[in-house]
């Protein structure tokens, strides 16, 4: 590792920290394998998204100030979550006195796969992952960060996660009937609109199961937690991994 290489801060979303430490470990190890100098700054908290999406953006000023100050010394901030990154870029409230730092943060914060493709400029990952993988495109990554082309738009198709996955030896990419429909997690929506949320999740799972997905992956553990919760309840035999876990395992 070069000492003058950019210093990357790993931002681990709160629920990943608590429920999916393996995803945090995989993200860290993956970036290290790709030659990055990575630090996990201690004292991280939630980005404030659950509150803001519930209509209380104004109550996240403290959280946001803390976030900006914590990550200020780093060249990049990388998170294994499109949703949290979108929140930081678009929905964190303006913090008086930290305007410059906040603007800087918006430019240096990246979702993991886009950091690998757009900043590290990785064209092709060498590795092996002999499984049928179904990709769940999380909406905030998909239509918020534009990590992949949207089925609604007339544009040249692209998908940053797919670009990283499909070169892996043995990996079979599952084509879904609805490539980018929402899974119904939606933060507090999962609880306030429970019936709809579960129905949407079941429909996504059916799409994967009918196309013989073996491992369901994605860039946001929140969606996967929701889908996995439904699948487990209904004894559906699907495996769930964050894309960082697949990439980290494949290139080891």
């Amino acid at each position: 590792m070069k000492s003058d290489s950019p210093h990357i801060a790993l931002f681990i979303p709160c629920y990943v920290d608590q429920f999916y430490p393996k995803v945090g470990i995989a993200s860290l190890e993956l970036l290290e394998k790709l030659g990055c100098k990575v630090t996990f700054p201690s004292g991280q908290t939630c980005c404030g998204q659950p509150l803001a999406n519930a209509g209380y953006e104004r109550d996240t000023i403290g959280t946001t100030r803390h976030f900006i100050e914590l990550f200020k010394p780093f060249d990049y901030v990388v998170a294994p979550s499109g949703s949290c990154v979108l929140h930081i870029k678009e929905h964190s409230p303006q913090i008086p006195g930290l305007e410059n730092e906040q603007a800087e943060l918006h430019h240096k914060v990246y979702e993991l796969t886009e950091f690998i493709t757009d900043v590290l400029k990785v064209e092709k990952l060498e590795g092996k992952f002999p499984h049928r993988v179904g990709f769940h495109a999380s909406c905030h990554g998909q239509r918020g960060l534009r990590l992949a082309s949207s089925s609604e738009l007339n544009q040249t198709p692209f998908n940053k996660a797919r670009k990283l996955l499909e070169n892996l030896e043995g990996l079979e990419w599952v084509e879904l009937s609805r490539t980018d429909e929402c899974c119904g997690f939606g933060g507090t929506f999962a609880v306030t609109e429970e019936a709809l949320s579960v129905r949407m999740g079941k429909d996504r799972l059916e799409d994967h199961l009918s196309h013989k997905t073996e491992i369901l992956t994605g860039g946001d553990m929140s969606c996967i937690m929701h889908l996995q919760g439904i699948a487990t309840r209904n004894n559906q035999t699907l495996k769930f991994l964050h894309i960082a876990e697949i990439l980290n395992e494949a290139i080891s």
Partner: protein, 452 residues
């Protein structure tokens, strides 16, 4: 009832909910396919959006141009501040004609103004002539979709309804047969009506003409046989130039139903000799919405319904779950401006997935406005009691120490307690979903051990 309660009710009939989802998805899929045959599609959306931005910035002068040019062509122009005034204006015209029976083609604006019950109260028979609208009118229901009014009904239900109302054969569910029965029934109404009401898709400032688009031809059947045509138009329906129609007619039907254009696109500029043409320009909350900086863009809507067809919530909860004249994503950003308290749950009936904004032919940032309405609504009253629990959560997230403690507590609580005792939000989560297995340590703890 709130949106979650209505949605839960709708989802009880699982087979029908699935059918509803798939039927509307089919329409969205058609829209996707046809939009991809137009290489300049995204450019057209951008141009349409810019034209509408220009309209909102110059609405007053365009309305005056429109009025002047329409009057020059012999159209009588009226202005209505709200639904009541609109309805009264219509009634005045009808009474002057001694008219007690009218035909009306699809107009979401007249639904918004509740024109039908008002006229019926004053002894006027109103016949909605769009097939879907006639069906829901027979049932005393509002439309459940702005383009597909009866999309919530199965053909068996329509067959039973027509058997009762139009004496069709019992059990005959053939759509052609049922449509033909409606044709015969409505033809009689068309031939008798002295006054016909239509909505307006576009009003052109530079010419004073207005355009009405249908596939059935019902708007034209009505107005060309009647002596008097009353067109009801929201003030935001203005376009500056005739040639702007080239952009909007290319977008409208493709976005709405995936067809290249509606089969009838009528441009009304002046009445036929001896006949009357009226246009009523209606505000009803639109100027108030225009004044809301964050929400004024919602007035760019051309009522294509694409955001309903694409919305994963709408498709699985049905139009009635919204309890507003315009349902779906666009309705959820328009309705709170009319009555925030009544419609307070609508901006929360979304996962903010953003699909609505990506299908919108005039590029309204619908999902961002849903987010902004949430911020407004929580200021006025605690929604679902979320206020308190969220404030609590913020207290946790603000302080790293408190967060860590609560994290540890949460994990040990999850391990120790049986599923049934886990507290409220987790309880709701756990109704149909398992919780993730709780790891023995958090990432932070792992990092302390392994990297520090």
């Amino acid at each position: 009832m709130s949106h979650p309660e209505n949605a839960t009710e709708f989802l009880k009939d699982q087979a029908k909910a699935k059918w509803h989802d798939e039927t509307l998805w089919f329409v969205r899929d058609k829209r996707d396919r046809i939009s991809k045959t137009i290489p300049e599609w995204e450019q057209l959306r951008e141009i349409a959006s810019q034209i509408k931005d220009n309209v909102l910035a110059n609405l007053g002068s365009y309305l005056e141009d429109f009025e002047r040019n329409a009057q020059k062509n012999g159209i009588k122009v009226h202005w209505a501040a709200n639904g009541e005034e609109h309805n009264q204006l219509v009634l005045d015209i009808l009474q002057k004609q001694n008219c007690t029976a009218i035909v009306k083609s699809k107009s979401i604006l007249t639904e918004e103004c509740h024109l039908n019950p008002f006229l019926e109260k004053h002894g006027v028979e109103v016949v909605d002539t769009d097939l879907g609208e006639r069906i829901v009118q027979f049932l005393n229901q509002p439309p459940s979709h702005i383009v597909l009014p009866a999309i919530h009904l199965k053909k068996g239900e329509i067959s039973d309804l027509f058997h009762e109302k139009l004496h069709t054969e019992k059990g005959n569910e053939d759509p052609s047969y049922l449509t033909n029965a409606a044709r015969i029934h409505l033809r009689e109404k068309f031939l008798k009506a002295k006054v016909a009401i239509t909505g307006v898709n576009f009003g052109i400032a530079e010419t004073g003409e207005f355009v009405v688009c249908t596939n059935e031809g019902n708007a034209d059947m009505g107005v060309h046989l009647a002596d008097v045509h009353i067109a009801c138009m929201g003030i935001e329906k203005i376009l500056p130039r005739r040639k702007d129609l080239g952009v909007f007619l290319r977008l409208l039907a493709r976005s709405a139903t995936g067809q290249p254009v509606t089969n009838y696109n009528s441009h009304f500029r002046s009445p036929s000799p001896g006949k009357e043409m009226h246009i009523i320009l209606v505000d009803n909350g639109r100027t108030a919405q225009l004044a809301r900086e964050k929400f004024k863009n919602s007035l760019k809507c051309i009522r294509c319904g694409a955001c309903m067809n694409t919305c994963p919530i709408y498709r699985r909860s049905g139009g009635f779950s919204y309890g507003s004249t315009v349902p779906g994503p666009i309705g959820s950003i328009l309705s709170p401006g009319l009555d925030m308290k009544k419609h307070s749950t609508l901006p929360f009936a979304s996962t903010l997935c953003g699909s609505c904004s990506d299908v919108c032919p005039v590029k309204i940032n619908i999902h961002e406005q849903l987010y902004e309405w949430r911020q407004e609504i929580t200021k006025t009253h605690g929604e679902f009691g979320k206020g308190l629990s969220m404030k609590l959560a913020n207290g946790i997230f603000k302080s790293p120490l408190a967060y860590k403690i609560s994290g540890n507590l949460m994990r040990s609580a999850l391990k120790a307690l049986p599923d049934s005792l886990i507290y409220h939000p987790l309880n709701t989560w756990g109704k149909n979903r398992n919780l993730p297995e709780t790891p023995k340590e958090s990432f932070q703890q792992w990092y302390q051990k392994n990297r520090s």
